[in-house]
């Protein structure tokens, strides 16, 4: 792709000046963005080669937060890995827990009681709400919006985190799911709090969209920026809202129908352009669908046990075998691959991190755009370095 490819504001603007500008191409500037940079969402680093402001090469450098999570998982018991999964994608401890629990349940052949399934859905969808609202805030922060949308997003996220805290004891490091159920039961008072939050969330989203979605500057900054085509995204293993933004309606909640998702009616929004604006809007629309799922789940949640009576907390030793469990996390497919050799520790413990795989196309998305766009594109991929580097 040429560095002077057409820019979004003037679809043909770049072409006719290219020959003139080529004469003036000077030295390339190599900038190391990160690992300490305000917009790399942690300790991510991109080595960016610039021609003026245009990116001609971009190499991501990972591993600054690497702690070999998988090795730790292989040297600790099945239960002992559960709190570590909180720390993968630390915004979505609940869905990480669920994916891991799902893989272990498949490995050990455990069933999950119905009430626990409902609780899992409620917590996963709350998790999705707070992740997407955070993403919207961070993305707008990356476009330079002085923190206002971010603060609104965090104001609402805080309410969800408080719910997590009063159920699981911790705002972010929930460590809530267990193999064959959940750790603690939710009181009806707690469910009532969730209900009132969910009922008020739509109004917040309306105000948030009024603040920013129609903003011309945001549109100029995001429409046509970082366009990703469907087939390329499928081949690159992009999942989650990133994938759906380029028109592939693949949602593991629908495809795998894990848990009790088939019982809920919800739609899967898909984008048509695959640009940053679509990635932002898909998340907003997914939040609206999540609100619907939450309302149905809160309406239907039955009473009953929350743990499989077969499940043991201590000394869990599944039969030799392997399993791969995946769910639709807020960032994409979060999967766990486990091999058991019959001992108390997994023989192989593998995390399939959505943020890490979604980064595959970062360079392709950024080429030809400006350095300012690279920040926005990175923001729209929605990475959490705890998960990328593991």
């Amino acid at each position: 792709m040429s560095p002077f490819d057409a820019s979004p504001l003037s679809p043909s603007g770049g072409a006719h000046v290219r020959s003139v500008v080529d004469e003036f191409h000077g030295d390339l500037l190599e900038v190391s963005m990160g690992p300490h940079h305000p917009s790399t969402h942690g300790v991510f680093r991109m080595i960016v080669t610039l021609d003026g402001e245009r990116i001609v090469k971009l190499k991501p450098v990972l591993g600054y937060l690497h702690r070999n999570h998988e090795k730790i998982g292989e040297s600790t018991s099945y239960l002992g890995s559960m709190p570590y999964t909180d720390r993968l994608d630390y915004l979505n401890a609940m869905t990480n827990n669920w994916a891991y629990a799902l893989a272990v349940e498949r490995l050990g052949g455990l069933a999950v009681p119905e009430r626990a399934e409902y609780l899992r859905v409620i917590l996963a969808e709350l998790s999705r709400l707070q992740n997407h609202v955070c993403l919207a805030g961070f993305l707008l922060q990356d476009t330079g919006a002085s923190g206002t949308p971010l603060m609104y997003a965090f104001r609402e996220r805080e309410k969800i985190l408080e719910l997590f805290e009063s159920l699981s004891g911790s705002r972010m490091m929930c460590n809530f799911q267990r193999f064959g159920g959940c750790r603690t039961d939710a009181s009806s008072e707690w469910l009532g709090q969730v209900s009132s939050l969910v009922n008020g969330f739509g109004a917040f989203l309306d105000e948030f969209e009024e603040l920013i979605t129609g903003n011309e500057i945001l549109m100029a900054r995001t429409q046509g920026v970082g366009v990703m085509k469907g087939p390329a995204a499928v081949s690159a293993g992009i999942t989650g809202p990133m994938l759906r933004a380029c028109g592939v309606g693949y949602d593991i909640r629908k495809v795998d129908a894990y848990g009790i998702y088939p019982r809920f009616t919800f739609r899967v929004p898909i984008g048509s352009h695959g640009d940053t604006y679509d990635r932002y809007m898909i998340r907003i629309l997914e939040m609206r669908e999540s609100i619907g799922i939450l309302q149905q789940a809160l309406r239907d949640i039955p009473a009953g046990p929350i743990m499989d009576p077969k499940a043991k907390l201590r000394g869990f030793r599944p039969k030799p075998g392997e399993s791969y469990g995946r769910i639709e996390g807020p960032k994409g497919e979060i999967g766990f691959y486990l091999i058991s050799d019959g001992s108390a520790n997994p023989y192989r413990y593998r995390v399939r991190p959505p943020s890490f795989v979604n980064l595959t196309l970062l360079e392709d998305l950024c080429l030809g755009h400006t350095i300012a766009d690279s920040v926005v594109i990175l923001g729209s991929i929605d990475i959490v370095l705890g998960e990328v580097d593991r």
Binding site: K319, G335, Y337
Partner: protein, 217 residues
């Protein structure tokens, strides 16, 4: 989706001479896998991706598994006829043999178009030292790009034909592969007091205690 055995026989028909077999998974998950030999894995992967019945266009997960060499004790019963003419004497003879170690690469394949999966594809290296290489599947599925780099980094599997095979999580100057079972971590980081005796001793040597307190066990 068609059963794995059928896929396997179709593959054998399509690629005569290819090493393809079904590796059963004894656990309750029953996700059996296709074990494919190194030589033909690239063509088979392309076939799996493009076959209209399968269309496994999405490689969700690629990972390595380390199977170090292991001593397997074979017990064989040897029947020696009793020279005295009594019932033949049965004795157990234990023979130890060394199962060579290998590194395994596992791909979890799904189809986004036909919405089925997973098909677990495995391939193995010859050994863990000088012939630890398999063909890269990054040209087939781009999503393997970073994941194969990670396997290269952490397990030491060399992927032939990978466009950019560098370390990804560990730093460039790092030696060894941390996810191997026999990896020994270097003692080069700063020790801090922990309740574990020898660590505390080390910490004390490195950093004398500032304040008194209950003597550290």
């Amino acid at each position: 989706m068609e059963p794995l055995e059928q896929i396997c026989s179709r593959l054998l028909a399509r690629f005569p001479g290819a090493e393809v077999s079904v590796l059963p998974n004894p656990g309750p998950a029953a996700q059996h896998s296709l074990l494919v030999g190194r030589a033909s894995v690239r063509e088979i992967a392309e076939f799996l991706r493009d076959d209209p019945l399968l269309r496994l266009d999405y490689c969700s997960n690629a990972t390595g598994v380390d199977w170090p060499e292991k001593v397997i004790v074979d017990v064989t019963k040897v029947t020696t006829p009793d020279p005295a003419g009594g019932p033949p004497k049965v004795s157990e003879v234990k023979t130890e043999r060394l199962q060579p170690g290998y590194l395994e690469v596992v791909y979890h394949l799904y189809s986004m178009e036909l919405r089925h999966g997973p098909v677990v594809l495995r391939t193995r290296t010859v050994n863990r030292t000088d012939q630890a290489s398999v063909p890269s599947l990054t040209p087939v599925w781009r999503s393997a790009e970073f994941q194969e780099r990670e396997i290269f980094d952490l397990f030491g599997v060399v992927f032939e034909g990978h466009p950019d095979l560098r370390r990804i999580l560990m730093w460039d100057g790092f030696k060894d592969h941390p996810m191997r079972r026999d990896y020994v971590e270097p003692e080069d980081y700063e020790w801090e007091p922990t309740p574990h005796g020898d660590l505390v001793e080390k910490a004390k040597r490195a950093r004398p205690p500032v304040k008194g307190g209950e003597p550290v066990a």
